[in-house]
């Protein structure tokens, strides 16, 4: 059977069609993904280009309110940028960092988990101790500390310039133990199965067995946690940016937009905080709901409560 045919008959698709929450979340997430992918085409203004906005437009309310301007549908932020465009670009940054951080932590975690599970021995004990230690400290604390240290080490200007790759590394480093443990657990379950023994008898070397035979069979749990991890990474990024340890206001993510807007909430400019906040919550919520659904479908045994 071709992959597409197989997918059409799979249990995954069957249960997807019967779950309205999954369909809605997937639909919303897909729309958000397309918007952030095509941001330069969709956004009314290019907010990265300083020539397109004017400080005189700052704090214009949404267009339907008194004093609103039809040019700016959701109003403008404190620098006079069109809020809708800024949010679209912000969503793009949040998306990029969220997915990037999860890919990074998955690569590190899978490598560590695979080595530690398959090779065992002293290496296993050492790596898992390391994971234990980091696991006992909340990931947000690790991320905040790492970001603070990077900021001091690089200097503010350089840090803001390199913010996207640095945040991917910071958030990735704070969450790898989860992957390492998950992968190690399933490698331990796989490594004594017959197909691995057969591969060993044929004379494949350890690297081939680990990454071409065992690895594909450990992917289900990795997939299950990945979706939820993206939501976590997006939240971490928003928190770091809100604390001023993340994206600078010149290239804002949703978190740094909220930070900037918060300072003006007392003067009544609620929209600068409100719209990015709502977008952030919707974004996280649909990922979480989709992750919950995926976990229930792929691993019914895990479900509790």
């Amino acid at each position: 059977m071709r992959p597409w045919e197989r997918f059409k008959k799979s249990y995954l698709l069957y249960s997807f069609k019967r779950d309205p929450i999954a369909i809605i979340s997937f639909g919303v997430l897909a729309v958000l993904a397309i918007i952030s992918l095509l941001a330069p085409l969709i956004a009314p203004y290019n907010t990265y280009d300083t020539a397109t906005y004017d400080i005189m437009d700052a704090e214009t309310p949404p267009s339907w309110m008194e004093g609103g301007n039809e040019m700016f549908l959701l109003g403008t932020d404190i620098q006079g940028r069109d809020l809708l465009s800024t949010m679209i670009y912000g969503l793009r940054v949040s998306f990029l960092i969220g997915v990037g951080a999860v890919v990074f932590q998955a690569l590190v975690g899978i490598l560590v988990g695979m080595l530690s599970g398959y090779l065992g021995g002293k290496l296993d004990a050492f790596l898992m101790r390391l994971a234990d230690i980091q696991f006992s400290i909340p990931y947000l604390i690790v991320a905040i500390f790492t970001a603070a240290i990077f900021k001091l080490a690089f200097g503010v200007g350089r840090y803001e310039e390199l913010a996207v790759p640095l945040l991917i590394i910071i958030i990735g480093m704070s969450e790898w133990p989860k992957y390492a443990r998950t992968v190690r657990a399933s490698v331990l379950g796989e490594k004594n199965k017959e197909y691995v023994e057969a591969a060993r008898v044929i004379g494949f070397n350890r690297r081939q067995i680990m990454f071409r035979h065992v690895l594909p069979n450990t992917m289900t749990p990795v997939l299950v946690i990945s979706t939820i991890q993206v939501a976590g990474a997006v939240m971490s990024e928003a928190a770091l940016s809100f604390l001023g340890l993340g994206m600078p206001i010149t290239k804002p993510s949703l978190g740094s937009l909220i930070r900037a807007g918060f300072e003006y909430i007392f003067s009544g400019s609620w929209w600068i905080t409100f719209f990015p906040g709502v977008l952030l919550v919707i974004f996280i919520l649909v990922i979480l709901l989709l992750g919950d659904w995926l976990r229930d479908v792929l691993n019914p045994k895990l479900y509790k409560g």
Partner: protein, 324 residues
């Protein structure tokens, strides 16, 4: 059991040494102890003399051992900004954070246990469904957004509650407390409510899940068969066994609460340890930053080790699983 405790304590000490190493490296690679001491206006030659006198030209491990020795004695260096020992600065800020965490913990307990039990007993009621839906959405709302929403509603629009700072405090033997003035208490409401929204969804679900599991067990069925009163079965027999896992999780989550105080303290300009930490980052006050790292490390290690040891007493499987 004794061996288990010893092993956990050795592990805790190792973790602290690693955290100390990280702190030490930060202090000496990024920070500049000479600047912390004398400021910027000193000639390079004089600087070199001071470096020598402070032992900053000694080999790495000698300095590390000295750092650890000082740290054990409670000396974590001078804060560049405050011109005071870093630990003193932290101690002055700690009451604010501790009071915030205490009030939050009380709110979490008072809400999550009744709500969890109710929705376990009546899983199909409207209230239970509402609670479960809210707790699903609640997980997706970052704490700083909750805090901002609360400020906007209760401080900006309704003008009922103060939005920042600690208000009036009373000095009790060096402990600046906001518990004893009306002003201090009203200032506590918004920060602690928003901090508690991090834990509430998790705890309501936890209490509910544990309670539902207990209600399925044989001894509860036996209690029903004996004809005991409903109230007695629910609140005396089932509730007791629900509490054990809840207490364990609570111990661990208390540490996480400390982490999230950084966010709430920023929103509410709450003069606690988290706010101080971010100020230290802005001011490049490396010594204070390292001291905070070590203090938070100690809090986590002590909490985790204690929870593990208590758990070892309660559940023998834990201490056997650890042995090879």
């Amino acid at each position: 059991m004794f061996a288990f405790i010893v092993r956990r304590i050795i592990q805790a000490i190792l973790v602290m040494l690693v955290i100390g190493l990280v702190g030490f490296v930060i202090q000496h690679q990024i920070g500049d102890p000479v600047r912390d001491l004398v400021g910027e206006r000193v000639t390079p030659a004089e600087r070199e003399v001071i470096r020598d006198r402070l032992g900053l030209n000694d080999p790495f491990y000698v300095q590390y051992v000295r750092f650890v020795k000082n740290a054990v004695k409670g000396d974590l260096g001078l804060s560049f900004f405050y011109k005071k020992p870093a630990l003193e600065v932290i101690a002055a800020k700690a009451p604010a954070t501790i009071e915030l965490v205490i009030v939050t913990a009380i709110i979490v307990i008072l809400i999550s246990i009744p709500a969890g039990i109710y929705s376990a007993i009546n899983p199909r009621s409207l209230f239970s469904r509402f609670v479960m839906a809210i707790s699903t959405i609640g997980v997706a709302i970052p704490v700083f957004l909750t805090a901002i929403a609360l400020i906007y509603l209760f401080a900006v629009e309704l003008n009922w509650l103060p939005s920042y700072g600690r208000g009036e405090t009373v000095n009790l033997w060096g402990w600046q407390s906001g518990f004893f003035t009306w002003d201090g208490l009203t200032h506590l409401i918004l920060p602690s409510v928003s901090l508690s929204t991090i834990m509430l969804p998790l705890f309501i679900r936890l209490v509910r899940a544990e309670m539902m599991e207990v209600l399925e067990t044989d001894y509860i069925k036996f209690a029903w068969a004996k004809g005991l009163h409903r109230q007695r079965v629910w609140y005396i027999h089932a509730f007791k066994n629900t509490l054990l896992p809840v207490i364990t999780v609570f111990g661990v989550e208390l540490g996480i609460l400390f982490a999230f105080t950084i966010l709430t303290e920023t929103v509410f300009q709450w003069q606690g340890m988290g706010f101080m930490f971010l100020e230290a980052v802005e001011r490049s006050d490396t010594s204070l930053l390292v001291a905070y790292l070590v203090v938070v490390g100690v809090i986590f290690v002590v909490v985790n080790t204690t929870v593990d040891i208590i758990y070892g007493f309660v559940n023998p499987m834990v201490r056997i699983a650890g042995t090879k």
